[in-house]
Assembly symmetry: C2
């Protein structure tokens, strides 16, 4: 065992950072055994140094994150501030100073991962980010390393705990979106400003990161098609229920059939209740990975929270420290395929369309003609009439998203169609 301790700078000491600091203390001896050298917290950067920070020696605290990140004696910088700036500048400073970096920052990685990877490569340092996707669930490492000899074709999952909690409540209690969001906020599952979660930005960042790793290409958050859950209504949930389905916010990354491009998207979708993802309750996450040789793998666990996310950060810390002690480097960016990201219109999906129509002969034929004219083939139709009004529920076969949305536009223009009551993709 080497005796000189490895020095760690912690940037940020909030939900995740405070747990990282706690575990570094409580697990100190185990970490030393597993790394082959002691690790020591050498500084903690925060915004408000006056707040109580139980377990953190006050002399470690600083508000000058930049000075700490660039300190020449620091071996590893852990960035758990979040957001694009100042996090990016801090990480680049750390690499310039020769440190390795562990981060949980999905927003930054999805916006500008290439810059970070390039800086790590130039510095000959490590960049690890297991905590950026699905909290404690090991997913980045299995995909970057365990599946490195396989060909991944699809990644599909529930990657945001807040929205899953909300949709689960809507499903189990019949509540509307706003009511379920209020409950999530009260219970601490949603932040004061829930935009990143409910509008799908958080899941889209994760989808970008996973698509890049899965297909060995570069995907940024703005290339991910994104729809949040704010438009999901109690009627959508009830419609799903009638079909034996639940509504989930899915993130889906796929290699195209010809292998020449990839797609990444985040949107609510109906899935069968019997599907393993259908049973994912509350704020849990679950991700399927489909690969040529491995087949279908599923990873499940708590996707967020201070302690679970810190567990992932600590695993990365051990890996980075082991590399510093033994030599060697973790895998860098792998983007050699340079596959382009196709737009949403080219994705093939299925649609569930619930229409309010006039209850008279010929309407079904009109509606069916619109589907046919757009080359969309219909899987099932259910019609129910009452008092001159009828509702018509159509589930399509797979077609391009472009054809499906053109179909819905055309349906809206039919005079016999009073309105589109519910519209959702089906996976």
């Amino acid at each position: 065992m080497r005796t000189r301790p490895l020095k760690v700078a912690l940037l940020g000491c909030g939900t995740v950072g405070s747990e990282v600091a706690r575990i570094m203390t409580t697990q100190r001896d185990d970490l030393a055994q597993r790394i082959g050298a002691p690790v020591e917290l050498a500084g903690v950067a925060v915004r408000r140094p006056g707040r109580p920070r139980p377990g953190i020696a006050p002399e470690l605290l600083t508000t000058d994150a930049e000075e700490l990140a660039a300190r020449p004696d620091i071996d590893v910088v852990i960035e758990v501030i979040g957001g694009i700036e100042p996090s990016r500048t801090l990480i680049l400073k750390a690499f310039e100073a020769g440190a390795s970096v562990v981060t949980a920052n999905k927003a930054l990685l999805a916006a500008d991962g290439a810059t970070l990877h390039a800086a790590a490569a130039k510095a000959g340092a490590d960049l690890y980010y297991e905590a950026a996707v699905a909290g404690a669930i090991p997913l980045i490492r299995p995909m970057r390393e365990s599946l490195a000899g396989d060909k991944v074709n699809r990644v599909l999952g529930i990657m945001n705990g807040t929205t899953n909690f909300i949709l689960d409540r809507m499903d189990s209690t019949g509540a509307g979106f706003q009511e379920a969001l209020d409950e999530a906020t009260a219970l601490g599952y949603a932040e004061a400003d829930p935009t990143a979660d409910i509008e799908g930005f958080d899941a889209a960042a994760k989808a970008a990161i996973l698509a890049g790793i899965a297909f060995h290409t570069r995907v940024t958050a703005d290339e991910v098609y994104r729809e949040g859950i704010t438009e999901v209504s109690a009627a959508d949930i009830a419609g799903a229920k009638k079909m034996g389905c639940v509504v989930k916010l899915l993130a889906i990354c796929e290699r195209s059939a010809d292998g020449e491009s990839v797609t990444a998207r985040v949107h609510p979708a109906m899935i069968p209740r019997s599907h393993p993802l259908g049973g994912v309750r509350e704020a849990y996450n679950a991700v399927f990975v489909e690969a040529d040789a491995a087949g279908r793998l599923m990873f499940y666990g708590p996707g967020a929270g201070g302690a679970p996310t810190a567990s992932a950060v600590l695993g990365d810390l051990v890996a980075v420290c082991r590399n510093l002690v033994n030599g060697g480097r973790g895998p860098g960016e792998s983007a050699y395929t340079e596959l382009p990201v196709s737009p949403m219109g080219s994705v093939t999906t299925r649609y569930y369309v619930s229409l309010d129509v006039e209850d008279r002969a010929g309407v079904l034929a009109q509606v069916a003609t619109v589907f046919a004219e757009h080359g969309v083939s219909v899987d099932t139709v259910n019609q129910r009439g009452h008092d001159g009004e009828a509702s018509l529920v159509v589930v399509t076969h797979r077609a391009t998203d472009a054809a499906l949305s053109a179909t819905v536009e055309a349906l809206r223009r039919l005079t016999s169609v009073r309105g589109v009551a519910s519209l959702m993709r089906v996976e």
Copy 2:
């Protein structure tokens, strides 16, 4: 990219080895990109060189595995022969010659992993074995690396596909054990000699490997308590059904409550049908890992088969080759806690006991007294009488396995007890 290829020796070219060779060919360019150097199959050792081996150049074949393993130009040896010998000798020869080793050999690792790890450490070489547990499911790497900063308390899962297939058939068709085994054999899910699977040896080897990694101590297969599924009857399955349960062959590794010892065991158990493991059908595997900070994680996928297992071998091959190209080493054996393995008697579990008893007053009191005398508290009792005979189904609370088995012995000695119709642990 380095241009001199890394040379790989493949020992064994059966179910797994032939898939490894196939993927090394079809994925040649991707593997080179991911490793940073080309990899080349330099030799393939088999027992019967005359068999057709599609896709393998005949000049690569040899029956002299020992010569191949020790060849000085070989960088990595992949051992997929299986069994203790000659595999152990071959792996040790490979390390002596300075090669790194990837193996899928759970039997050898569980019997004598310490010798292999010591040889790897002495040679300064890598030993990777993701494929040894749960086929394609990344489990060894997440536990050795992703959870390296956490404290694992429990690993529980279905780790043998053959027995899960058999139990699933018994559950869904009402078939007896032998009938379900015959079907598994006919469909290729069970080997000609199914002993290793149905007697629990295979799962016990995996439990030993996982317990060692989870608790950073050394556990061998003979320290794992083991019961197979040959005694599981249609009556057991029916009894489980009545309670809303299914019978699964579980492997369970636990840290004791005081943290001073560990246990590892493999036995059939009833679990609620609604438990995520209750829904694992056919030959799939699923493993729960519970850790202090991470919480409860689940990993699910195909636990065996040529291609899935080869996927895991290839992931290890990429890791080992990357280490050779960049310097560095994978994690070695971590057994610093030296926690002892406690015997089964000290494990606390729950029992399901179905008794055939005389249908007369006082019998229930007699039975209840036996439980009480052994300090075993009863959770539920169900009695049903018919024609002077009655059946009594008791489910206990948690007690030590020793107390529970002493209770059952005492029940068998009661004259009012005609027999024990079914006896199973409940998890």
